[in-house]
Amino acid sequence: MPEIKITRSIDLKTAGPFVALIALFILGAFVNDAFLSSGNLSNILARSSFIGIVAIGATFVITAGGIDLSVGSMAAFISGCMILIMNSLMDKIESLPVLILIAIFASALIGAAAGCINGLLTTKAKIEAFIVTLGTMGIYRSLITYMADGGTLSLNFTVGDVYSEVYYGTLLGVPYPVWVFLCVAIIGYVLLNKTVFGRHCFAIGSNEKVALYSAIHVDRVKTMTYILQGICVSIATIIYVPRLGSASGQTGVLWELEAIAAVIIGGTMLKGGYGRIWGTVVGALILTLIGNILNLTDMISNYLNGAVQGIIVIAAVYLQRGAWRKRAPT
């Protein structure tokens, strides 16, 4: 039965990043006892949720053959907007939860709009996604710096106190950001693997012309992936802002590279046509784990952290591609 065979081969392909993840876990436990403490594990999960959520959006963009370098500065920009909105509505709206909900709603809108701009410039103006998003990356980064007057935008203390629950609160002992991450991952998985839209992303990433001749609205679907990416960035921002209650020109720097790395470590093909949400989740965890383990030991000179990170990322992808290659040579 072909169905069975397909599933089995996907399992094999997924093995790579999982192996890397488990290896890192063992390493972590070995390096420091505190690694396996519930506090540390919950920190890791909560931390990886930002990059993870952004990377889930990136999985769509990359699967459909695009790339988005603007996510980091988009996150900073949206954070700034949310803070400005909340601070300025403070006097006008009594109920803080309502105020926060308005900001969240605005955040989603801005994210979707920003994604839409990237998408339209890519599909309608036919400019390479790399250049479009490199450009908007500079633009959003500038805007947040301008909005913050070069400094930091801080959330009003009273709102911040209420809102911080969203990052620090827990449900069944698990931090809210982790729940959000899980929900986004599940929705992302269903969307990518179980719906027409997801199938179309695969098709476009693997051959745009075939997709066009298969009656797929190529431009529309591609734009949608950027919009989804924008919304994911906005969701990441919604749980990021309550953490420190501030935004500055430094916020989200290099998130784009981390997100793309998570996606590729997870087994998605950078050239498009093959994407994997759970792989991306694992990829985000791997990246966070590396940082965490490096912080738990002083065996390695601080200056060499980046080198260790680089080596592990390359090794993880090597593992993952090794498994992939044996099954399906291309």
Partner: protein
């Protein structure tokens, strides 16, 4: 006669640099308003080589009469600043001294070593009977090194044990993450040296999350208004701060302007101290309208 002063500083890529940009901008407005003949060109750079470009442009295009420069990094900008000086332009160097002596006419600077030293002294005194501390460092650069080395030198021989140090890149998020991991790793921490107030903000949140705010205190650096406010309010978590004022750029610009406005000889070093900000004197260092 009209005078043009070029000001070249790093772009606002972290809190302290943001404050720097703010003060530079304010001073430019103020000086230009007060002296109609004076033109101030303010350029910001994202890297050492971009700043070298900016210096060339100030000379070639704006034909400046004086330069106020806060080098992105000392060594790489020594040559370019020297080239400016060779054209007979009056040079004021701020904060980061060049690696060659005698180039600048005026040197206005904070004292990074002193920042480390003052921080260490305070921690040493508070923990005179011994204690564990962790250090969150900045971006690996000369400034970070000067602060760190001075701190370690001062703390050595005391009862204070430095558990570990990690780079938090003068960044809130990294401060938060690194501190979370320190807290997970070390069950007993008595004090944190955060070196910079942006890092301190992240550390505060991590400590609060771990509900360990009663067992330790944090020493930041810079004089960010949020932290100064906490000191002023008597927050136990941040009992003190160590000043490293971004407003030094204003001092430098004013001194340079004075060179053209008065006949007084302007030259020499103006080293600003790094005093300890405590609850008693915090009010003097609190500027609510500044972005830093």
């Amino acid at each position: 006669s009209a005078q043009t002063i070029g000001v070249s500083i790093p772009a606002a890529t972290h809190g302290w640099a943001g404050g720097l940009n703010f003060h530079a901008e304010e001073t430019k407005k103020r000086l230009e308003a007060a002296n109609p003949g004076m033109k101030i060109v303010l350029l910001t750079a994202n890297s050492a080589s971009e700043q070298a470009n900016d210096l060339e442009d100030l000379v070639a295009i704006h034909q400046i009469d004086a330069l106020v420069v806060l080098p992105f990094e000392s060594a790489p900008l020594t040559g370019p600043v020297r080239n400016v000086k060779r054209r007979g332009i009056f040079v004021t160097v701020v904060d980061r001294g060049l690696s060659e002596e005698g180039i600048e006419d005026v040197y206005v600077a904070g004292n990074n070593a002193e920042l480390g030293q003052v921080s260490a002294k305070y921690i040493k005194e508070r923990l005179s009977s011994g204690g564990n501390i962790v250090i969150l460092r900045g971006i690996p650069t000369v400034i970070d090194e000067q602060r760190f080395d001075a701190f370690i030198e001062e703390i050595e021989g005391s009862n204070v044990i430095v558990l570990d140090d990690k780079h938090a890149n003068w960044n809130r998020d990294d401060g938060f993450t690194v501190m979370q991991d320190f807290l997970a790793r070390f069950p007993k921490i008595d004090a944190v040296w955060a070196q910079d107030d942006d890092i301190a903000i992240g550390v505060i949140q991590a400590v609060r999350q771990a509900r360990r705010q009663d067992e330790l205190f944090i020493v930041g650096g810079g004089g960010m208004k949020d932290i100064v406010k906490r000191v002023m309010d008597g927050d136990k978590l941040t009992p003190v701060d160590v000043l490293y004022p971004p407003s030094m750029i204003a001092t430098a610009m004013e001194l340079t302007a004075l060179k053209f406005l008065s006949n007084a000889p302007i030259n020499g070093d103006y080293i600003l101290g790094s005093p300890l900000i405590t609850q008693d004197n915090a009010e003097d260092y609190y500027f609510p309208e500044s972005p830093f």
